[in-house]
Structure formats: C-alpha cells, structure tokens
Subunit: 389 residues, 2 copies
C-alpha cells in the first residue's frame, strides 16, 4: 500500500426528509445565496422544501447554472456575493451546480487579478466562502470532495482545494425519482468510471481498497438497471432503496476514500473532457466511449487488475488470460449499453474527422503523460480515441 | 437503508515515516502534552521520532496510561493541563491511550463539578482540547472516532462526542512490527468484532454497507494470521503490507462509516465490558468469548445475515439453513482460536460462579435492552454468558 493523507470533513445528511435539517447545518445568522440550474427543482418540490427550511435565514437565489458550468455564467454570482455580503452558498442540484458553486466560493475570495487563473494557471486557493449542497442527481461525487470542473469556450478545466469541500451535503434519494432516463444513466456510468479509475491500475497489495471499489461496482451493476426501470413512475411505485444505493455509491465513488493508498488513472476523464469540449457530448457519454477503448489499449499494464475485475465483478473465470480480458472489456461495454449509454463516437453521429480536434485539445492542455504510469502519451491517446470511433 | 448523519473530520496520515509530518498537523505555536503508556514506544523508536518531530514546539509528557485507562490515573493530567496551559494533546500508543486522552481533553474543559459525570451521568461535552494520535496498536478504531471508554473500579463506561475526534491520526504500520502476539491477536479480534456488530443484524437492503463490512472481515481473516506469523521477526523480515492492511482495516472497522444507515448490535461489547471488569480479561478475549455464544442465541433474529455472512465470508453454501448457521458460528470461533484467542470463559480459569457477577454488573449498568432490536434482556444475556462458560 502507498502512503496517503486522507481527510474528508463533509457532513452527509442522508435520507428522505433530510432537506429540512439544513436549518441546523447552516451557521445561524448567515446570509445565504441559493444556487441552482433550471426549473426541475421547482417541478419536483425540492425548491419548496429549501424555501421552508430557510425560513429563519435571510437569503437570495440565483438560477441558470448550466450543465458543464460556464465561467461566464458563474462570474455574475461573484459580483452578487460581494454586493450583498453573502456568507454561505447553498448549491441545489447535480454535480454541475456543485462544481459551479465551488468555483464561485473560491472566486469570491480570490485576491489575484482574474479568478480564471484558479483554473488556467493553477493559482492557489487560499480562502473560500463556506458552502453546502443538496444533491438531486447522483453522479459526480462533487457533494463530498474538493473538486470542481468549469468550462470556458472549449477549455474544460478543473481545480481542487480542501477549502471547497462542502460543509454538508444532503442526499435525499426521493429527489431523484423524477430524473429523466438520460440523467439516471449518465450518473451511474460516471460513478462506475470514477470507481474504475481508482481501481483498474496495477496491484499494490491493497485488499481493502480493491474490495471497496468492487463493492461499489457490483452495487452499481445491480441497482443501475433497476433505477432505469423505475424512470417515469410515480413516487409510490418507486423503489426507495434502489435510489438510495445508487446515490450512496456515487458519493463513495469519489469522496476520495477508495483511491487512497493506491495508484490512479484519470486518463478516461481527461480524454473524455475533450470529447465534451469539441463534440458537445454528455460527460458520461464520453466516459462510456473512452473507457472500453482505453482498457483494451492498456491491457498489458493493467493485466492483473483486469483479470481480478473480470473475476470478482463479472464472474469471468473461463479461458486464457487474453480471452478473459476480452470478455471483461465486452461486459463493461455491455453494461454501459444496457444503461442506454452508447459506447462509440460514431453512435453519436461523429466520425474519424473528430480525432484530430480531440487530440489537438489534449495536447494544448498538456495532457501528454496520462495513466497510472504516465505512459499514455499523445500517440497512445490518439490510438485510444481512434479505436473508439 | 435507514437515514443517517455521517461526519468524520479526522485526518489520516498513513504510511512509513509519517510521524515526522505531525509538525505540520499540530497548530503552530501550540504547547503540546504528549501522553503515552509504558516504555514500548521508547524501545521501538517511536518516542524518538515524536521528539524529533516536536523540535519546533514547546511540549511536556505524561506516561503511565494503562490498558483500560483508569479514571484515577487520568485526572492528574487534567491538573497538569490547567497548570501548564496546554493547547494540544498528542496520544502515542494504542486505543487505551487514545481513549484516555479523549477523556482528558473533555475533562480539562468540563464546567460541571465532577468530570466523572461525563461517563456516569452522560453529562454533555460542550468543549474539549484538540488532540491528535500516533497509533501503534491497530484495534479499537479510537484513532478515528469520538468514542472513549474509561474504567473506575468495576465500572467500565463510555462516552462519545464529536468534539473528541482526533484532528489527525498517524498510522505508520512499521510501529506495529514489535507488538507481542497477544496484542496483535487482540487487535485483529477487536476490529473483526466491531465490523460484525455493524453488519450481523437484519437486512435493510444496504448492499454497500454489507460489502464494505465483508471487505474488512475477509481482509482481517487473510491478513491476521500472516501478522501473527511475523511476530518477533526483525524489521527486515516483516511484511509491511500485511501490517498496513490490518491497520487500515481496524480504523475503517470503527470510523463509523460502515455502520451508517444500518442497524447495529453492540451487545457483545457491552457484555464483554463486564467480563473485563469482573474477571480482568483482555477486551478482545471477552469479545471472542461472547460473540459465538451470542450468534447462537440470536440465530433466529440474525438468520438472514448469518447465512449471508457464512456464504460471502466463509464460503459456506452446503446444507440446510441450520447447518450453515452452525458452520458459520464454528468458523468464527475457529478464526479466533487460530488467532490464539480462546473463546470460552473456562479457558481462562473461571467457571459458572462468574456468571452472577457478570449479570449483576450488566443489570447495575442498565444494560437490559441490548441488540439491534433491544430484545437482549437480562435473561437472554444470562443465557449467552452461561453458554459461553
């Protein structure tokens, strides 16, 4: 096992009805800015629960944070915060709202010239407004980590700081009953790939981390299709535990615990970001496209973990090693397809002409040494993307 | 899954050489009191590492915190803290030193008449000195939770407060190389039983919590005997990863994560405490005695989880349900015996005459509704203890 430094201070309020408890989790007397995306939280009753819970607070709201949150949409919030002396940010929605709110929290306290430097120049975050989240879309894990991804033009960039861990996050599974199929599917695929990226590398004799990762993968494989089968059903026909298990899995997939002490490989995410930036694909779609191709290209370096993943998660024990690895990759691709997420660039109406654009972006962003060994150079990324067309 | 409220702010510095990093984890300028037990940390080099790491701090030390830390031994530390204006406590040792230090941290800030009330009357802890730990004995999980158990006479009582979570804990597996067999064995048994007590209840459709618990049990079963085989060997012949995996398992067994959202049954610990208080047995010995007997007495209420535990952890799939449950209990007892921890009261030289004393204590401490359903009354506790003689 490798040395590690782990700390995750985020308080998790989990279960039906927990939104009401934010009144005890937000500092008394704080002036709150509520941030959200579109109108879905008004349609499903979450907005009203937030309004009720904030009865004792002075608060303002700002809507319109879009998927893959845009720098230009976020900066007006920073102005509002300064003008209105906001003390606490409350993000209500999915990972994009949480990510956008984290950037706003850091930008509001940034002392340099241009907060974009936090993303583009890795300018250090030395202070941030405190924030909480109410999660309505299990996927990114942003509700329990210090990560944030923000987009400006075709630059989709990230930062990480211990100062933007949410003080609390509310996970009420009933808020996910009204999600459309595409968001349920994308969330499960995102959480699955987060887990894989902290697991499918090379062995370092870390049985707990391995088994925790396998626990999440098995649960997502069992519960993901059940959640899809419930899409569109009224609340009384929903399976609460299925939604609860998907939600808790997504948080644990990226609250940083399972990746401590083990190698990590975030190449799928890094390449995937460029597919979103250049082709406009959903984040999870890009992961479902890149991961099977990457598993195949990296089958030598990942051999032992691919075999373990095949055996423990997919129950693949027959055939020689190469056959088992092929079957493992096929099963992974099949799972994404079962979740109604297509796994090839051509499935989305793009062809070989997109490869150069994606690779140019990757190079421009300095992503030339990806993978757990830093051996995914531009040539290898090109091979991965070409094989994914 | 049940609703839950989870937060664990403790920072974990894990790995060889991490003791040196406490200099960055203790607040600059703090006046530190180092607390430890006997001389083992001087013999194994940990004490010198602490001295080196504290070079930039003003600090004092207090040794002599004994196993099952005694109230009367701890109170002089409270006086010292007030007299010397101590700002930060550093516990170096096993769970007893951590538990004792937590009580001292709370007692030093207690505003009532008698700090014993924190334990005996559940007086609320409203403030506590900050503390860190350097763990040298993986077992109790005290390094990453808010629990503390303190003994006074034949009263072995506990308290819990979010204010006594360690700010940080250093887990350096090499510090465990010199542990004697009895401590290695006791630690593995303690961590195993902690996990069982948050797992072996009744199903609530919580596949992640179940699998995380099974991950820890499987790891302890694999690694525990390997650690025993390395006892007494020089450092260069030790298996670092074995010690690392045992250490991380013990922390995760009681950092409260695996028990969130599921029923819990701490009857084994509660009854076990009275065996320590009346017979003077090691804490883990009492658990190894009580658990198999409790599993048998509670086999109806725990039926589904006993079968799951048998199948997933012990690979028991043959025979009818009753046969499989018998085999599961036998395997659990066998594991404790393999770890050189005997599983019957009579193995330690006591007989049926001890039952009344144990049960009287349990009744005096109000432990009349134990178990995940509160159905372990005094009669049932008596049956459990009698069957364990």
């Amino acid at each position: 096992m490798n040395n590690f430094d782990y700390q995750n201070p985020t308080r998790i309020l989990f279960g039906e009805g927990e939104i009401a408890n934010i009144k005890n989790a937000i500092p008394q007397g704080a002036k709150v800015l509520v941030l959200y995306g579109g109108g879905s939280i008004k349609a499903n009753g979450v907005y009203q629960q937030v309004v009720d819970a904030l009865a004792g607070f002075e608060w303002l709201e700002l809507s319109g944070i879009s998927p893959n949150p845009k720098y230009d949409e976020l900066m007006p919030a920073v102005e509002l915060i300064k003008r209105e002396n906001i003390d606490f940010l409350l993000a209500v929605g999915g990972g994009s709202v949480a990510d956008g709110t984290k950037f706003i929290a850091a930008a509001a306290k940034f002392e340099g010239d241009d907060p974009w430097d936090i993303l583009a120049k890795r300018a250090p975050v030395t202070d941030a407004l405190p924030l909480g989240t109410i999660l309505t879309l299990p996927a990114t894990g942003s509700e329990a980590n210090g990560n944030s991804v923000v987009t400006r033009g075709t630059d989709k960039l990230s930062f990480n700081s211990p100062l933007v861990y949410p003080a609390f996050s509310v996970l009420d599974p009933t808020t996910t009953y009204t999600l459309p199929a595409r968001q349920v599917a994308n969330g499960v695929v995102d959480a699955f790939v987060h887990t894989i990226e902290q697991y499918l590398t090379y062995p370092v004799n870390s049985p707990i981390q391995d088994r925790f990762a396998e626990s999440l993968l098995l649960t997502l494989i069992e519960e993901g299709p059940k959640a899809m089968a419930d899409v569109g059903k009224p609340a009384e026909e929903q399976n609460y535990d299925v939604r609860a298990n998907v939600m808790w899995a997504a948080t644990l997939a990226l609250n940083t615990l399972i990746g401590k002490g083990v190698p990590q490989d975030w190449a799928t995410h890094m390449i995937g970001h460029e597919l979103t930036a250049t082709l406009g694909l959903d984040h999870a779609q890009t992961l479902a496209i890149i991961l099977p191709s990457l598993m195949n290209e990296q089958r030598e370096g990942k051999r032992e973990k691919l075999l373990q993943f095949g055996e423990r998660v997919w129950n693949i024990t027959e055939g020689d090693e190469s056959t088992r690895i092929d079957a493992t990759i096929a099963k992974t691709r099949e799972f994404f397809e079962t979740m109604q997420v297509k796994t090839r660039i051509s499935d989305y109406g793009f062809g070989a002409e997109s490869v150069d654009k994606i690779i140019d972006q990757l190079e421009r962003h300095g992503m030339t040494k990806l993978g757990e060994r830093g051996d995914i150079d531009i040539a290898k990324s090109r091979a991965i993307v070409e094989a994914a067309v």
